[in-house]
Symmetry: C2
């Protein structure tokens, strides 16, 4: 087979639509990998494009880079991930997403009922009920999760 042309950072950046600096950053975070030329420049195999695409999609769905990295660990190190590999990943995320959608619906419905009423006390109002608030991660600054 003809040798599949490797990509430079610039090419990956252009084709994936993310900045070069972001690619460096993803690499530092272990989300993508590259090897170096004799002149120390990065070269990527073509499947990095899929990885990057999935990173962006997952982010939009509200998954943090840490979460994505965790999920990516289920992918094989040696071989290029197959479609099946990716499907396993997406299945897990789809569940997360389903859950978030459900939570948001609950909030939306609760909003109209509760915002103008007298039930906004911390323990009584369904909206203010700590039991099943949407999860937050991180301890310092709060991140708003999802999308």
């Amino acid at each position: 087979m003809a040798p599949v042309r490797e990509l430079t950072v610039g090419q990956v950046a252009m084709r994936s639509g993310v900045a070069v600096s972001a690619l460096h950053f993803y690499e530092a975070r272990g989300l993508i990998r590259s090897h170096r030329t004799s002149g120390n420049q990065r070269r990527y195999s073509r499947d990095v494009l899929r990885r990057v695409a999935i990173i962006r999609v997952a982010q939009e769905v509200g998954i943090s880079l840490a979460g994505i990295a965790r999920a990516f660990q289920s992918l094989p190190e040696e071989r290029t991930p197959t479609r099946e590999d990716w499907n396993l990943l997406s299945a897990a995320w789809r569940d997360e997403l389903d859950h978030k959608i459900a939570q948001m619906k609950k909030l939306r419905d609760g909003l109209t009922d509760c915002i103008g009423c007298g039930c906004m006390s911390i323990d009584k109002c369904p909206l203010r009920n700590k039991e099943d608030r949407l999860a937050r991660e991180g301890t310092g600054a709060r991140r708003l999760v999802v999308s």
Copy 2:
């Protein structure tokens, strides 16, 4: 009528479930207001509790403090907001929420179809389609929006 007792920061913190530092912060951001005692301590009128409750709910729904502040500007400055005032607010947010839910559903459905397939190119894949991505705000670090 009996004079309605004003609240100290500590009391508001306890009753609303947010930290004193967060209340200071909200005040600096113009989300809540207080007046000062002769000794320069904050005193809050009771309706601050509702405000704070709504701030938290709105945040969970993915609205940034800046967005909340914007919305709060529609509230009357002079009088305590009525139920009607709040309802107007919530209506707008409910729409936002509806929209976000719709986007998430789209993403969820697209995810299963697309993640394992070959369509992940920036311009063809529905998931990667720039047209109606979820809005991002801010220019520096990206925030993940919603909940």
